[in-house]
């Protein structure tokens, strides 16, 4: 995944919110990142730290909440934990799984001053 682009997009969302909510400093940024979203958290932190310099978010910490992967097996219709796309259903061995959770990349909230 492209963590630099993500860091830039996060900053854009923060600046959009700042215009409407009139805050001048961001203390923390709360993200929800799915396990299947293929985001390297350390790489995202690295790029966020570099893009936030001299912006309203220069003091901001990233708080990342990992959302575990989940899906429904197309064959046996059981809800299963999915930690990678090549995983077979542990109950029936089928590879066709409809992902229901774990692909998200969301900004949930900001802690601001």
């Amino acid at each position: 995944m492209h963590e630099l682009s993500l860091a830039e997009n996060i900053l854009q969302l923060i600046e959009d919110a700042a215009q409407q909510q009139h805050f001048t400093q961001v203390e923390a940024v709360w993200l929800e990142i799915g396990q299947l979203a293929c985001v390297e958290h350390e790489s995202l932190r690295f790029f966020f730290n570099s893009v936030k310099k001299d912006t309203i978010a220069q003091e901001a910490k990233l708080e990342i909440i990992t959302i575990t992967g989940q899906g429904i097996c197309d064959r046996c219709h059981q809800t299963i934990a999915v930690n990678s796309y090549d995983m077979a259903c542990p109950r029936c061995g089928g590879y066709a799984v409809t992902i229901t959770q774990g692909e998200e990349m969301r900004m949930n909230a900001l802690e601001v001053k």
């Binding site: 995944m1 963590e3 802690e111």
Partner: protein, 290 residues
């Protein structure tokens, strides 16, 4: 992953002209700016007890001091890209343009395939091409030699196309109604999968010289694709590549992924590829009419 990418806006060029910044210039920004997004309601969370984050992370809010407040955002991190993608999609449907996003690692044969495809399709539909590469306009030049219009996007250090770049490229092209538009993404098996450009379908091209295990190593791309073209099949007699195994791996990631074996240089499999284009073009047009 991607530590080499540095999509600074100043580096992005379309037909060798710098891509202009559209953001209103009331702020100085040090990151790649895009257009401001339409107003969103950022609802302030007044009562800290109603903060869903607090419930999820008990005890983790200790550093929240009395002067700070929580603001709920609830937006997709790629919301801005997706907004442009939706805008591009509206443009395509208004002009009945069928857009395909071609993804692969460098050198798997995307441009060779496009040149062959254009030669076989050009009496059937108008065709246009958007080429994405970090540097050079070699690929756009190869496409223009066929007579089809092509715009070259150079992403500089950036390793994928995004929907805003396509928006800007579309503003510089005249694409006839009812065209087939091919977008050749930057050669990269990782990032381009995550960036919706507004296309009807993503097509992944894997060449037989790359090894059978690529679907397992780069699952996101195979998960996102609607068609797999297995290219350079003319080379199979010289390789130990196990076609069945490659397809089995691809189907582990994406069980319903159709696979067409082709040789862009020898022409084998091209008819099946053109039939897939025609069937999907009709299906997309039909879905629009409803």
């Amino acid at each position: 992953m991607c530590t080499t990418c540095g999509c600074g806006l100043s580096q992005i060029r379309i037909n060798n002209k710098p891509m202009r910044i559209q953001r209103q210039s009331h702020q100085s920004l040090t990151y790649r700016p895009l257009r401001p997004s339409p107003a969103q309601n950022h609802e302030p969370i007044k009562d800290p007890a109603s903060n869903p984050l607090k419930a999820k992370n008990p005890g983790r809010r200790d550093h929240q001091t009395s002067e700070t407040r929580m603001i709920k955002i609830e937006r997709d991190i790629l919301a801005e890209n997706n907004r442009y993608a939706t805008q591009n999609r509206h443009y395509f449907s208004a002009h009945r343009i069928f857009a395909l996003n071609l993804l692969s690692s460098p050198g798997s044969g995307k441009t060779t395939l496009l040149v062959q495809t254009i030669q076989m399709l050009r009496n059937l539909y108008p065709i246009a091409v958007i080429e994405g590469d970090q540097q050079t306009d070699h690929d756009a030049t190869r496409i223009r030699a066929t007579g089809a219009p092509a715009v070259q996007i150079n992403t500089g250090k950036g390793c994928h196309l995004d929907a805003a770049m396509i928006d800007r490229a579309l503003q510089q092209m005249h694409i006839e109604n009812n065209s087939v538009l091919f977008i050749e993404n930057v050669g990269n098996l990782v990032c381009p999968a995550s960036f919706d450009l507004g296309e009807a379908h993503k097509v992944i091209i894997l060449s037989v010289t790359e090894g059978e295990d690529k679907p397992l190593k780069y699952p996101d791309m195979f998960q996102a694709a609607d068609l797999l073209l297995l290219n350079k099949c003319d080379l199979l007699p010289h390789l130990t590549f196990d076609t069945g195994l490659a397809i089995e791996y691809a189907h582990r990631i994406n069980p319903s992924l159709p696979v067409i074996q082709i040789s862009a240089t020898h022409g084998s499999g091209m008819t099946a590829w053109l039939e897939w284009i025609e069937a999907c073009r009709r299906a997309t047009a039909g879905a629009l009419r409803q």
